[in-house]
Each structure stands twice: as C-alpha cells, then as structure tokens.
C-alpha cells in the first residue's frame, strides 16, 4: 500500500494536468477525417522515413559513443570529473538553435573541423550526415544521464566478483556490467531515440531542410504550419504518439 499523505494528490494532479491537457488539446485539434490522408502524403512519408532512418543511426551512435562515456564518467577517478560531466550534459539544456550554431562553427564549411574535412573531401553541410550529427549531439546526454546513474547505483561488486574469478576487463564489461544495467541502457537508448526523433532547432540551423535529405518530421511539421495547419497538427499528433509508445516501452520494467 502506498503511504503517501492524501494532500499530495492535489499538486500532483495540477502538474499532471499542466502536462497532459496540452497533449489532449492537440489530439482534439486533429482533423480525424483526413488523418490518414494527411500523414500519408508524399512529403509526410518522406519526412517520416528520413526521421526514422536518421533517428535510428543517431541512436546507434549515441549507444556506441555514449556507453563508453558513461562508463568513464561513472567509474574513472580523475579530478575535474564533475566539470566534464556538466559539459557533456550541456546539450540537454542548451537551446537547440544555439546547439546548431555551435555545430556550424565546428563542422560547418568554415568551422573548426569543417575546413579540414572539406580538404579530405568530406562534405557534411546540407547532407543527411549533418542531420545525424545534430541529432546525436542533442540526444547523447539522455543516454549518458540514464546510464551513468544506473552504473553508479549498480556499484562495482559484481565487477569485482568477476575480476576475482579471473575475467579480463573486456569480458567483465560485456558479460557483467552491461547486462546488469540493461534496463537503464534500454531506457536511455529509447529516450535518445525519442529525442533524436523530435530534434528541430539544431537540425534547421545546421543541416538545412530538403525533402528526403534533411527535412525530418519536425521540420516538415513546421513547414506545413505555413501552408496546411491541419497537416501540421496531424503530424504533431503522430510524433507524440511515437514518443509515448517509445517512452512507455523504455520505462516499463
């Protein structure tokens, strides 16, 4: 039985209302009669396809790069770690437009690395790669914040036991550490995917907007608002639906 004081319900319901009512309001605005048509137009489907592709690749990158980062942040003992952790989490709180500007200054044609990349024949500007970079940049902290906490909570006793049995660090990592934090890894992965799917500001600033190449679902929604607000609402609802499903799956234990 829950032993919460009953008055807790009042602010909890107020807070719930603040979050849930807007979602309901969007659902009520959806032109249900045309819903199917709206979300299956050429441009909608191209955007959906691109969004799923880029969010998928970004999520993979988040896992491949974010898991090692989380491991270092949770286990390494070096001075300055809190600062490093703060820096790594910045994209979580940075306005995405500023994130996009930062990416431009880095990977843009005249950016920190962009010039070198250009000389090497790598063109990032206006490519799907740019979308993936932007999504990875904003989504990675979600993976790190989920996983690092879980790694700290899980502690090191199973890892120490495995080492005591003679297991090398790689074996410990792959067969003990990661399986133990699998729920958090799954949840962080799905949060990253959802965040990548919803990414807008950094993408539009850094990657541009071209159907099939860089115009993801959120950009399509923004554009449709200009010409067909009904389509924008329908696509917004679709995006919310995907987000709910994805988070509900991730947070179920």
């Amino acid at each position: 039985m829950s032993s919460l004081p009953r008055w807790v319900l009042v602010p909890a319901l107020l807070g719930g209302g603040l979050v849930l009512l807007p979602l309901l309001a969007v659902a009520l605005q959806v032109p249900w009669g045309r819903f199917g048509t709206l979300i299956t137009s050429d441009s909608s489907l191209a955007a959906l396809r691109l969004s799923l592709l880029t969010a998928g690749v970004s999520t993979l990158l988040c896992v491949l790069l974010g898991v090692p980062m989380s491991l270092l942040l949770a286990r390494a003992r070096v001075p300055g770690l809190p600062l490093l952790r703060a820096l790594v989490l910045i994209p979580l709180v940075l306005p995405p437009v500023v994130g996009g500007i930062a990416l431009l200054y880095t990977f843009g044609r005249q950016g920190l690395l962009g010039r070198t990349l250009e000389l090497l024949g790598v063109q990032i500007a206006f490519s799907t790669t740019a979308v993936i970079l932007a999504q990875t940049f904003v989504a990675m902290p979600f993976l790190v914040i989920s996983l690092e906490g879980a790694l700290r909570t899980a502690g090191t006793r199973y890892e120490r036991a495995a080492a005591s049995l003679g297991a090398r660090p790689s074996r410990v990592l792959l067969q003990v550490t990661l399986p133990l934090v699998l729920p958090a890894l799954a949840s962080g992965t799905v949060l990253s995917f959802a965040r990548a799917l919803g990414e807008f500001g950094a993408t539009i600033t850094f990657a541009g907007s071209l159907q099939g190449t860089t115009r993801t679902l959120p950009l399509e929604i923004y554009l449709q608002r200009e010409s067909d607000p009904d389509a924008a609402v329908a696509l917004s609802f679709l995006l919310m639906l995907v987000a709910v499903l994805v988070i509900a799956v991730a947070r179920r234990r």
Binding site: S164, G166, R168
Partner: protein
C-alpha cells in the same frame, strides 16, 4: 603457491606479516576493525594503498614497482554474499569462471555440469540466483570459485549469512574442498577456524597478537579475545606447586608442571566449572543465560555452565556472590 604477505597500510593502522604454505589454510580472526578485510583486499588486489608486498607462488603481485591487476592474480574471493550474477543461471555463473580462464564454450558447459553435480546442484542448474535459497546460492558461489581454479582462495565469512543447519552442511563441503588448496579464511565462528583452517592468526588493532596451529591456539589461548572466541575461560597467574596463584592471591589448582613462580595461563571449559560452598574462586554473578539445557552463569571474568539444580541450590542470581571451583585435571596450564 605459498603466500607471503607484508601488509603495511598506515592509513588504516595495519602493519603485519603473514605466510600461508602451499596447500595450507590460514584462519584470520579478530574483532571488527582489526584489519582482516584490509589483509584480504591487499591480497585480492582491490586495495593498493600503502607500502605492502604480496607474493604468491613466487610471483610478486603487489610491491615496489609491481602491480598485478585483480583479474590476473588467480586469487578468488568467496564472501558472505555469494554475488552470483543475477542475469545468469546457476550453470552460466559457473561457466563464467571457466570461460574467464580460457576454457572453450563446449568444455565449460561440461565442466560446469560436473561442478553442479559435485555440489548436488544439478536440479537447480537453470535457476537464476533470485530463485535460489541462501545456502543453494552459496553452494553455487563455491562451485564457481573452485571452477576458477585459483592459486589462492580467500574466504570472507563464507557462512555468516546462512541458517545453522545449512552452514554446518556447507562447512563440511568446504572442508573437503580446502584440503590441499591454499586458502585464507576470515571468520567470527570458532567452528570455521577449527574445521577449515590448519593455522590461525589473531588480529587486533592492525597487528597479529597470536599465531599458530589452529587446534593448539584454540585449546591454549593466550589472549582474552582468543579465549572468548574458543569458548574457554582464561586466567593468568604465577605457578606455585600444582596451582595457579592469581593476582588477588587466590589459588586455582591445576594440571601441569612448571618452574615455581613461572607466569602461566590457565584455560578451562565453562562446563568444567562448578559452584562450591567453601574455597574456590570468589566471584559475583553478573548474568544468567540459558545455554542449551544448562545455564551459563557469567561473573566478572569467568563463565560457568551449570545445571538448573546447581543454580537453584546455590541461589545464583545477578549480584549474588558465588564460589567457583574447577577440577584440577580440567584446568590446562601453559607458560604465558
């Protein structure tokens, strides 16, 4: 696989030297905070503090300029908490240890099955740790530790979390497996020390206060802690013609032959103590506690296991005076 250890960890006030011969089992006992865990961590390689030196089977594991990481030491720890990997079955837990030392997947499966059989765990092979009882889990942990084929086994109160029955059965199994293996066991239970160890070291305040053959030390304790641990009364005095003269001048007739005036310890079982009307040692009852079918009567420095009749006949209750005697032949004496 002889272990030579010099533990020197100033931050924890530990400075001691230990040695375990090949195949021997050393029991480490002592009050909480005496340094037992520090010794184990040093040997396991989870503590790198201080200027310690650990040498096993001729290889320097910890020392000046030397550092072998825990996984490469072939030193396996078995603790009170079995620390079975929760996501693996009993079988897979054991196979993990085999795979870790390079055994092929197929052979590991077979060997794991052998270990499960050996420890009568075959029926539980496919269970996850949360489906095992405490005793079953600890048996899987033992199988897993042995499957790792360590050069040295560290046992950190391996039975402390188990029911009495289960602990007793497991102790027998451990005794079997420790024969011929080099091991160090930390314990609070005299049964563990007597059953599993050949030698015993008593630690207090980061130093070794007593060390020797386990049976010898526990029948002839030299410190209050060891005596309490062994369940014996311990008095110290001067030898005088077949008796120990205690500090207060009272005499305790005792077996033994020592030079006159030699400083000696006298050890005797609480069950050998009986109340007498005259003579004996004058003490005051501190507490009475049931002890099996007897009553354990505690005084300032002695414990006596008496029958209910004896307690009643001498009107023993907390605060009451009592005279306690011990048959001469039950009092073992040895030079202090």
């Amino acid at each position: 696989m002889t272990l030579h250890l010099h533990a020197d960890v100033p931050s924890r006030g530990v400075d001691l030297r230990l040695q375990v011969p090949d195949g021997g089992t050393l029991a480490l006992v002592g009050p909480n905070g005496a340094g037992k865990s520090t010794v184990l961590s040093l040997v396991a390689g989870t503590l790198r503090d201080g200027h310690s030196r650990v040498e096993l089977a001729g290889q320097l594991l910890t020392g000046p300029g030397a550092w072998v990481p825990p996984h490469a030491r072939r030193v396996t720890t078995l603790s009170q908490d079995p620390v079975l990997f929760p996501h693996l079955t009993a079988r897979a837990n054991i196979a993990f240890a085999l795979r870790a030392r390079g055994v092929s997947r197929a052979r590991a499966r077979g060997e794991a099955a052998r270990w499960l059989d050996e420890l009568e765990l075959s029926a539980l092979a496919d269970r996850r740790p949360r489906q095992l009882s405490g005793g079953q889990a600890q048996r899987v942990a033992i199988a897993r530790a042995l499957a790792a084929a360590p050069q040295l086994l560290l046992l950190d109160e391996p039975m402390a979390a188990l029911d009495i029955d289960v602990a007793a059965a497991l102790r027998e199994q451990l005794r079997h497996y420790l024969a011929g293996r080099t091991a160090v066991i930390v314990t609070h239970d005299v049964l563990d020390a007597l059953t599993l160890a050949d030698s015993l070291a008593v630690l207090e305040g980061g130093r070794i206060v007593e060390q020797g053959a386990a049976a010898e030390l526990l029948t002839r304790p030299r410190s209050a802690f060891t005596a309490r641990f062994a369940g014996l009364n311990l008095l110290t005095g001067r030898w005088d013609a077949g008796a120990v003269v205690l500090e207060d001048g009272s005499r305790l007739p005792a077996a033994g032959a020592h030079p006159a005036d030699a400083s000696v310890h006298a050890a005797f079982r609480p069950a050998a103590v009986r109340p007498v009307a005259d003579g004996g040692l004058r003490r005051t009852v501190r507490s009475l506690l049931p002890h099996g079918d007897l009553v354990r009567v505690r005084t300032e420095d002695l414990a006596a296991d008496l029958s209910g009749q004896q307690v009643a006949a001498h009107a023993l209750r907390p605060g009451a005076p009592v005279r306690l005697a011990v048959p001469r032949e039950d009092v073992a004496t040895y030079r202090a």
